[in-house]
């Protein structure tokens, strides 16, 4: 079967095929959130005292914060006491290093190779996170030869405490916002990555997050540090089982880009979006931020958001180093009852800094899709430059598409441009396809892929095919 036939077949079936549950013995800590729970999480992870104190401090700050309600979202009430904050698959005591075959099977089913021999040499190194713990990280040795550290966050705390301590919460402070504070208090696992000076990472690094257990939340923490003149391309993927109740996912990603370093961060977000009536799904409330710390540094965000019942996510860049640059490329698709409020912030502080924002929103069904962005030109951002383009595509008359940009300039030499358009797939385009024997749904898929091409083409090869298919599946049933 050719690739395009497969796409059509999947398009017509169009179900959430990652929605299965892995039946594996798991250990939990009790439901609820208080200082004892945080101490338990910290103890289970055998953390040093300073990290426990960091968590407790964040928790105290979080308690004093109200949940933000400025987003264009109809947010359900989240009972933070009704969530299990830590769930981990049990390990075989006699063979603690072995991966449970059931877990291996799960990731295999999801197309995530956990065994190094399964992949072509030098393709992708994976850190696989299952609920609250990292199952395994592949290619660690190969990477270590180059001095690259790529491991789970928990291991990094144990093996490289100085690095973690030096960079943790420097980009997203614990008190940054409500969900970041919550994450700082209860974060479980995630990935840590350090690229030393002048090293070009020989393969794509990738994290895969899987929620499995019922009644839990996932709170991962990712920290990426690219030292002077280094390069890394990092990818992130995620899925969860289909359930009637909603599950919370509140992550924090911090990226530090030193002088002349280059980081490319790509996400394909495919959390369970809930069923056609809006029941269940993941509440995806994440804080992602990078800092271009040194001069000439570069950070590029690419995201394809197709999943989650609610998405609240603004990958941002602080352009501190002179002549640093950043880009944000996004495709956000909402269908049925999904809601997304996503965008970016570009904070220009350094001289000659440049940023570019390309956001493509697609709404179908009765979904609401918002772009929210901030571009700020600081006093010292001499000759800084920004260009933003935010397009929205509406499919059906019951969905909404919104654009909320905020442009602040305090510098007479800075230039900011923003433009946005909203449109629908025209009858002419559909008719053209139909008369050439392309069915309505397939035609929509074709048009949407063309519309999102500028962003999709920025994705690493491994992701691009996946993302195109996802777009089609996400829009299944939205026509006619």
């Amino acid at each position: 079967m050719s690739e395009s036939d497969k796409i059509i077949q999947e398009f017509t079936q169009g179900e959430y095929k990652e929605g299965f549950v892995t039946d594996v013995e798991q250990e939990f800590i009790p439901k609820g959130l208080n200082e004892d729970i945080i101490r338990q999480i910290s103890a289970r992870k055998e953390e040093p005292q300073w990290l426990l104190e960091f968590r407790l401090d964040a928790f105290r700050k979080w308690q004093a914060m109200p949940q933000p309600d400025w987003a264009h979202l109809d947010m359900p009430n989240i009972d933070y006491q009704d969530i299990i904050y830590y769930a981990a698959p049990k390990k075989d005591k006699d063979r603690p290093k072995e991966i449970d075959p059931k877990l291996a099977e799960t990731f295999d089913k999801l197309g995530i190779p956990l065994k190094e021999r399964d992949v072509l040499a030098g393709v992708v190194a994976v850190d696989a996170v299952f609920d609250s713990v990292s199952v395994t990280t592949t290619f660690r040795k190969t990477l270590a030869e180059k001095g690259i550290i790529f491991c789970s966050f928990s291991e990094a705390v144990k093996e490289h405490p100085d690095l973690v301590r030096k960079y943790l919460a420097t980009v997203v402070p614990a008190s940054d916002n409500f969900f970041a504070a919550l994450n700082s208090a209860v974060f479980s696992d995630g990935s840590f990555c350090y690229i030393p000076k002048g090293v070009r990472c020989p393969m794509e690094l990738s994290s895969y997050f899987r929620i499995n257990a019922r009644g839990t939340g996932q709170f991962e923490r990712t920290l990426i540090v690219a030292d002077e003149g280094s390069y890394v391309s990092y990818m992130e993927g995620c899925t969860a089982p289909m359930r009637d109740e909603q599950q919370l996912h509140a992550a924090v990603v911090e990226i530090i880009v030193e002088k002349d370093a280059d980081v490319k961060y790509s996400t394909v977000q495919n959390w369970y979006p809930g069923d056609a009536d809006g029941k269940g799904g993941i509440l995806n409330l994440v804080t992602k931020r990078g800092i271009c710390k040194g001069s000439g540094s570069h950070l590029s965000w690419t995201q394809v958001e197709t999943g989650s019942a609610i998405t609240w996510k603004y990958p941002s860049t602080i352009l501190k180093g002179d002549y640093s640059a950043s880009e944000f490329y996004s495709v956000a698709v909402t269908n049925n009852h999904q809601q997304a409020d996503t965008g970016t912030k570009m904070i220009h502080l350094g001289k000659g800094t440049k940023s570019r924002i390309v956001s493509k929103g697609i709404s179908a069904g009765v979904s609401q899709n918002s772009y929210r962005g901030l571009v700020r030109m600081g006093k010292n951002a001499l000759n800084a430059r920004n260009f933003s383009q935010c397009d929205s595509l509406l499919i059906g008359s019951r969905c909404g598409a919104h654009t909320f940009p905020d442009i602040q300039s305090q510098n007479p030499t800075a230039t900011v441009e923003h433009e946005a358009t909203t449109s629908k797939i025209s009858e002419d385009q559909l008719f053209y396809c139909n008369q050439r024997g392309i069915g309505p749904e397939e035609a929509v898929g074709l048009i949407v892929n063309g519309y999102a091409r500028e962003v999709l083409s920025r994705l690493p090869m491994e992701f691009a095919v996946e993302a195109q298919k996802l777009l089609q599946v996400s829009l299944e049933g939205s026509v006619g």
């Binding site: 509406l394 602040q408 230039t415 923003h418």
Partner: protein
């Protein structure tokens, strides 16, 4: 017409019925701090609203535009064009929202806000927003914050036009789409005073 130095009253709520057309124009000249707050409801099919505004600042003026444009009926059209130049220590904010209701099909709504920042201490904050709940719409907005084009300036100077005159010409051409008829001289005088 002719409320002091600006044309329409600075605060107002307007209902525009079927087939009607509303035109609003504003001028804010140097030395004036203004808060312009308008809400327009396009209530009937085929209603139209067109807003043009111009501002010039050179001191510590505070200029605010808060424009809400509701498209509540099908086939309505609205345009907004707000151009201005911020010098001195001016603080300018534009807050514009277009809301297209679920049944307001065949809507055309355009919103543009262009700003030039002349001095280090001037501040411009622009928030052009779209909230769209209907699918058969043509909506776009654009916002820019920048400075006078150096290439244009060079072109004119290389042809013997003195710098200050060249800058005035640039500013006038930037403002020309929003200068109301009969107010050209007044605006030119204000531009020269920047």
């Amino acid at each position: 017409m002719g409320h002091g130095k600006y044309i329409a009253p600075p605060k107002g709520e307007y209902q525009v019925g079927a087939g009607e057309r509303l035109d609003l124009q504003y001028i804010v000249l140097p030395g004036e701090s203004r808060e312009i707050e308008i809400t327009v409801d396009l209530d009937g099919p085929g209603a139209q609203a067109h807003i043009k505004a111009l501002y010039l600042c050179k001191g510590n003026e505070k200029v605010r535009f808060r424009i809400v444009m509701h498209h509540r009926a099908p086939g309505c059209k609205s345009t907004q064009l707000i151009n201005g130049i911020a010098g001195g220590e001016a603080d300018v904010r534009f807050d514009g929202t277009i809301v297209v209701a679920p049944d307001a099909q065949q809507t055309e709504a355009y919103q543009e806000n262009h700003n030039i920042v002349l001095t280090e201490n001037a501040k411009v904050d622009t928030k052009p927003q779209l909230e769209i709940y209907a699918d058969d719409v043509k909506c776009s907005h654009g916002a820019t914050v920048g400075q006078l084009n150096a290439d244009e300036l060079f072109y004119m100077r290389s042809r013997g036009i003195p710098e200050s005159e060249a800058r005035t010409l640039q500013m006038l051409s930037f403002l020309s789409p929003v200068i109301p008829a009969g107010r050209e001289e007044e605006v030119e005088k204000a531009v020269r005073s920047l």
